[in-house]
């Protein structure tokens, strides 16, 4: 009970921190909503800048924002407002990975970070997989399909992560992967249209403090997958496409 109280305090502190942090519009950094301009370096510059300035929100409004992998930094949140679509490029060499897990939004060893809003993260999975196949056939890509397929969110060794409200679709890899993280909250997310039969929804390894609430997950692979070494897990009202309540699968 005491532990829970502490956790509530921490979450309050984090959300309060987010309240007094500054908001930055994407356009300030020249990030383009045309769906053509590859914004990777501009988004990265924005994240680095906000983090260096003490933290805040990077806000995206209506439009399609094409990008490759970006790394989230401490005290920075990405807010995808209604109508904002963060689009993963089909150009496969624009994706980076953490310990072999590639993803569009990555974080490694960061604190107090998040992705929120009512927008969309679009993986363009079919296009990505087609490109990976071509490059493997030509012999230029020396990775397996599983290694090369990027997920949408992958975080490692992070503390205090808030994922809330938006829609994830068409991932070529697993949609969301967390490993070695503490205090993760995932709320009100919908995960749909996986590009592969193997693609999992949420993948967890060695998590301490995980709250899943009001999730809808439609995947061919496991909706929620855990290594069995995670603890302090709460799951409330999480469903798959047939309305079945979801539990952790090891």
């Amino acid at each position: 009970m005491q532990k829970l109280f502490l956790k509530i305090c921490l979450i309050m502190l984090i959300s309060q921190g987010a309240l007094c942090a500054k908001d930055y519009n994407a356009s300030l950094f020249g990030i383009k909503s045309d769906g053509i301009t590859l914004n990777t370096q501009s988004i990265q510059r924005a994240i680095d800048f906000i983090s260096e300035k003490g933290g805040g929100k990077l806000k995206f409004y209506v439009g399609r924002y094409l990008t490759g992998s970006v790394q989230l930094k401490s005290n920075v949140s990405i807010e995808l407002n209604e109508g904002a679509v963060l689009v993963g490029t089909t150009s496969i060499y624009d994706y980076m990975g953490i310990n072999g897990t590639k993803a569009l939004i990555m974080a490694d060893g960061q604190q107090n970070i998040g992705v929120m809003g009512k927008g969309v993260i679009e993986g363009q999975g079919a296009g990505v997989i087609e490109q990976i196949n071509k490059q493997i056939k030509k012999g230029y890509l020396e990775e397996s399909m599983a290694q090369a397929s990027p997920g949408l969110i992958a975080m490692k060794n992070c503390i205090g992560v808030n994922i809330e409200g938006f829609n994830l679709q068409n991932a070529s890899g697993n949609f969301v992967t967390f490993s070695g993280c503490k205090q993760i909250s995932i709320k009100g997310i919908s995960i749909k249209n996986p590009a592969t039969k193997e693609g999992k929804g949420l993948v967890f390894a060695q998590i301490d403090g995980l709250k899943l609430e009001n999730l809808f997950i439609e995947t061919a692979g496991a909706e929620i997958h855990s290594d069995g070494q995670s603890k302090n897990i709460t799951i409330v009202n999480c469903k798959n496409a047939s309305g079945k309540s979801l539990l952790m699968k090891n």
Partner: protein
């Protein structure tokens, strides 16, 4: 000549390298030629793959390829076919400021060997847009830069090419356009071969033609340069290094600064240069400028065959004391021969994009000059078969520097100033001004003024051992005028 043998050997090495190379087509790696897709990561993947698989050429077939910063690796040549254009991203955040180099560039190479960029394609930095986008980010406070002179520092604007500490470089046939900063820099490289390139570089401040910094073994030939800043620019950034063993042949240059330039950064120095068949036209400053203002050593320089048409100045040799930090600079054993030059009354680069700044007024047309320091004289300069046509018409009511000791001593020394031919404002001669020099030979030299000038053609101030043979001076209404005026000069021989 030792360096000639070295260069021949280098050609054979390059030939062997080229024959064994395998071709890879860029689009096969998912690189798009649509002029929209940013290909940075795909091009980098292709370079890395070729580098790791025995080397070869990455071929860009006809099309437009957008990219940010990429790093060229050993044994990889970028082949730009006719019709292929590499377009620099106009987003400054797509460029890396290399930590070792401290500059931004589109194509980097650091510590690599056997690399090249070849073919009849184009590299277009689109620098004006990129630079102005950078200005925007600075104003918004998302990029920090002092914005001195209302422009981002030159290290915060991407060049097209920056190679550092590389060996065996071939740059042939390409066209290099519109960088946001300098254009192509080769820094502490060995064996650089540049042939048949075209440079069109006048989109923003500091757009040079080619910058060769502290390199050893350089050939630049059959190339055409049109640049806002210096054209053939040799620099020495490091006091421990030297720019040496350089051949420049059959090049044409146009500049809103200088044509052939040594410096301005001149810490180590410049040795063993042979420059032949050089044409400089419509150029704002000097066709030839050597600056030893940072402690550098300049020696054994041969320049043979220069046409300098419509240039603001022809020859400017200068020793100064800007960043010498105790090092003693020198300039000696310089031969300049077979020069025909015309200096205009008007602005030679009028109408070109990014014109040079009108400055150092009031002054009448400045003469060619050799200016050392009292304690560091410029030594052993031979000028042979030189013809320079000046407009004359120097008007003392506009600007006057007479020949009295007070007036001649009154020419400022400007030891620490940035060296340009016009820096002293009005000089006392219309043809050639020599100060603080030793062993100056004028052989078969003709100075022509198209109109009468109030000044004599030549003034020598603090010169030891000056010899004139076959000096011809043509100036209207000048019968009986003393055309060579020595001051504090010893052992002057006029034959």
């Amino acid at each position: 000549m030792i360096y000639k043998n070295k260069i021949t050997l280098f050609f054979f090495l390059l030939l062997g390298f080229q024959l064994s190379a395998k071709d890879y087509v860029a689009t096969e790696f998912g690189v798009k030629n649509d002029g929209l897709t940013l290909n940075t990561c795909s091009i980098q993947k292709a370079i890395d793959f070729i580098h790791e698989h025995g080397g070869g050429r990455l071929v860009f077939e006809s099309g437009n390829y957008v990219t940010g910063s990429i790093y060229l690796k050993s044994n990889v040549t970028l082949q730009l076919d006719y019709g292929a254009t590499i377009l620099g991203s106009t987003n400054p955040f797509d460029y890396v400021k290399d930590k070792k180099i401290g500059w931004m560039s589109m194509i980097f190479a650091v510590n690599q060997e056997n690399i090249g960029i070849t073919g009849k394609g184009i590299i277009n930095g689109r620098g004006f847009t990129t630079a102005n986008n950078m200005v925007n980010y600075i104003h918004r406070g998302v990029f920090i830069d002092p914005l001195k002179y209302d422009r981002p520092n030159e290290t915060n604007r991407p060049q097209n090419i920056y190679f550092r500490e590389c060996t065996n470089i071939i740059i042939t046939d390409i066209t290099l356009k519109d960088p946001a900063s300098w254009n192509q820099t080769y820094d502490q490289c060995k064996n650089l071969y540049v042939d048949h390139i075209t440079v069109d570089s006048k989109s923003y401040w500091n757009n040079d033609g080619i910058d060769v910094v502290d390199c050893d073994g350089v050939v630049i030939k059959n190339s055409y340069f049109d640049a806002a800043d210096d054209v053939l620019c040799f620099k020495s950034h490091s006091a421990q290094h030297i720019c040496q063993n350089v051949v420049v042949d059959n090049c044409v240059g146009r500049s809103s600064a200088n044509g052939l330039k040594f410096g301005t950064v001149s810490r180590g120095g410049f040795k063993n240069f042979k420059v032949t068949n050089l044409t400089i036209f419509d150029t704002f400053r000097s066709a030839i400028t050597f600056a030893a203002v940072d402690g550098g050593e300049i020696e054994n320089i041969v320049i043979d065959g220069v046409r300098s048409i419509n240039t603001g100045n022809v020859i400017y040799l200068r020793i100064g004391d800007r960043w010498s930090s105790g090092k003693k600079p020198y300039m000696k054993n310089i031969t300049i021969s077979n020069v025909y030059a015309e200096v205009p009354l008007g602005k030679p680069d009028a109408g070109y994009n990014f014109e040079g700044p009108i400055e150092d007024l009031p002054r009448n047309i400045s003469p060619a000059s050799i200016v050392g320091l009292v304690e560091n004289k410029i030594q052993n300069v031979t000028l042979k078969n030189i013809q320079i046509v000046y407009p004359g018409s120097g008007n003392p009511m506009y600007a006057k520097r007479g020949l009295t000791p007070a007036e001649l001593d009154g020419v400022p020394e400007m030891r620490e100033a940035y060296p340009e031919f016009s820096q002293f404002k009005e000089l006392p001669a219309w043809g050639f001004y020599v100060r603080h020099a030793e062993g100056i030979t004028f052989e078969n030299v003709t100075f022509t003024a198209l109109k009468k000038d109030y000044r004599p053609s030549v003034v020598l101030d603090d010169v030891k051992n000056a010899t004139f043979s076959g000096l011809v001076v043509n100036e209207p209404e000048s019968i009986g005028k003393q055309q060579v005026f020595p001051y504090k000069t010893s052992n002057l021989i006029i034959k």
